[in-house]
């Protein structure tokens, strides 16, 4: 059964994520050097990029789970999808917020209507749409299926965000992390990857614990829930 397994995993993910956050910030703020052109401001990157990447990645995973739920009628994957949506939305929000904060010193404004920024905003709206659609349907199975369809349709947006810097030449930075080699300094890269891993672990931990609540809520009429030690308390 998934429920107890998830219960056991959550603390591990949570603790390792906390450790990695600490390490990542140490690397990012103390070890990594000041950037030549951007000064100290560039250090936003250690939160901005992981948040942006996770917001897109989580969306894809969410759409994948939702699709599984829709096609094979597996309830667990639908629950996973609805557990991921709020976390994804928050990462999108963080990406937007930190991006805006970064934009002020770099570009002189909080916000420009550039393709990447816009498509990231659309991503946030898609998350919100998913959440509100799910919330406004009472029947949970119907809600799962309807919002799954929306998630799948919306996943068209993710490649647009990702490639927007290539397709339109805009203000926003192009990819610096490439599969072949990189232009970034090695310590910066370490810090970035640590933060990315930390965010990822955090997301897993939160999503798992949220999905546990959702399972309980949905299955409250079944016998195994009644027999759970924490319920009997």
């Amino acid at each position: 059964m998934f429920y107890p397994l998830a219960g056991k995993l959550v603390p591990w993910f949570a603790v390792s994520s906390a450790i990695l956050f600490a390490v990542g910030m140490y690397l990012g703020f103390v070890v990594a050097p000041t950037d030549a052109t951007q000064g100290e401001f560039y250090r936003i990157i250690y939160i901005h990029v992981p948040a942006s990447i996770l917001s897109m990645f989580l969306y894809l995973v969410m759409a994948g789970y939702a699709a599984l739920g829709l096609v094979f009628n597996t309830r667990l994957s639908s629950m996973m999808a609805s557990a991921m949506a709020p976390t994804g939305a928050l990462f999108a929000f963080i990406a937007l917020w930190t991006g805006a904060l970064w934009g002020k010193p770099m570009w002189g404004t909080w916000w420009v209507w550039d393709a990447r920024l816009t498509s990231e905003l659309i991503l946030l709206f898609l998350y919100l749409g998913f959440i509100s659609l799910h919330a406004s349907i009472d029947d949970p199975r119907r809600a799962d299926r309807a919002s799954a369809l929306l998630a799948i349709v919306g996943s068209v947006n993710v490649p647009i965000i990702y490639f927007s810097v290539k397709w339109w030449n805009t203000l926003h930075q192009g990819s610096t992390i490439k599969f072949t080699g990189t232009s970034m300094q090695i310590t910066m890269q370490h810090a970035m990857f640590t933060m990315l891993a930390a965010c990822w672990l955090y997301a897993v931990a939160v999503v798992l614990s949220r999905v546990r609540s959702i399972i309980l809520e949905r299955e409250r009429h079944t016998k195994w829930v009644a027999e759970l030690p924490e319920v009997a308390l």
């Binding site: 939160i47 809520e217 409250r220 009429h221 924490e230």
Partner: protein, 53 residues
């Protein structure tokens, strides 16, 4: 604001983005914990109702 930003770039970065991010994380964790409590409560209530019927 602009002046202050130029003078204290590190503080700006810190307060501006990391603090916000961690506040968001904290809020999310609080919500998740609250939801777990609320759900457990609800399930228990349901049990009581079923027992009393």
């Amino acid at each position: 604001m602009d002046l202050w930003m130029r003078a204290n770039p590190l503080t700006y970065v810190w307060i501006g983005s990391y603090a916000v991010a961690f506040v968001v994380f904290a809020v999310e964790i609080a919500l998740v914990v609250h939801k777990r409590k609320a759900t457990l409560q609800e399930v228990r209530q349901l049990m009581d109702v079923e027992e009393s019927e």
